[in-house]
Amino acid sequence: GAGVSQSPSNKVTEKGKDVELRCDPISGHTALYWYRQRLGQGLEFLIYFQGNSAPDKSGLPSDRFSAERTGESVSTLTIQRTQQEDSAVYLCASSLWGAGPDTQYFGPGTRLTVL
């Protein structure tokens, strides 16, 4: 079946603009995660959805970052007033239930470049 998909694959924007990143998880997966990977760094957790609710937003770096998930499927990560330090690859993952030991399946990522 189809894996996790993300769009766009690449996004170049100017400092101060808003961007929206999209994630389509594997059908039937209850849990959805957003991560960020800066150049040369590891995976940095941003937010986790269980169904449509977000029990863990602890990784969002500032109030410029927000995310929502509708219909237990697609999720969007919005970054307002982008800054150069927001440049990174944004990865989305989904897992079957997320409430316990589970395997996350990742999308290919969106490479965001803020000029």
């Binding site: 995976l43 993952a93 316990g100 030991p101 589970d102 990522g109």
Partner: protein, 114 residues
């Protein structure tokens, strides 16, 4: 404070030999551990996992070992192949404050030399 550490940023191994990638963690609440492989411009792909009730899990050329007392896990790849060249992330997961968390290490870049 890094809860999951991969202290070797890179590793080079000759084709056919064993590759050993290491990972240390600090939080005893972690009860499930995973290894992911990542090629450039792709998302990480799941490789192998181990539950804290086991000390070894094997899948073909890949074996993960868990030493709970030392809070250490390792991934063995034998024999190593050039196609194994990638960045490998370990991840530790467990329940904290009512949610199930996954913490990733910073990755080890493996290069298998032909």
């Amino acid at each position: 404070d890094q809860q999951v550490k991969q202290n070797s940023p890179s590793l080079s191994v000759q084709e056919g030999r064993i590759s050993i990638l290491n990972c240390d963690y600090t939080n005893s609440m972690f009860d499930y551990f995973l290894w992911y492989k990542k090629y450039p411009a792709e998302g990480p792909t799941f490789l192998i996992s181990i539950s804290s009730i086991k000390d070894k899990n094997e899948d073909g050329r890949f074996t993960v070992f868990l030493n709970k007392s030392a809070k250490h896990l390792s991934l063995h790849i034998v024999p190593s192949q050039p196609g194994d060249s990638a960045v490998y992330f370990c991840a530790a997961s467990g329940r904290e404050a009512g949610t199930y968390k996954y913490i990733f290490g910073t990755g080890t870049r493996l290069k298998v030399l032909a």
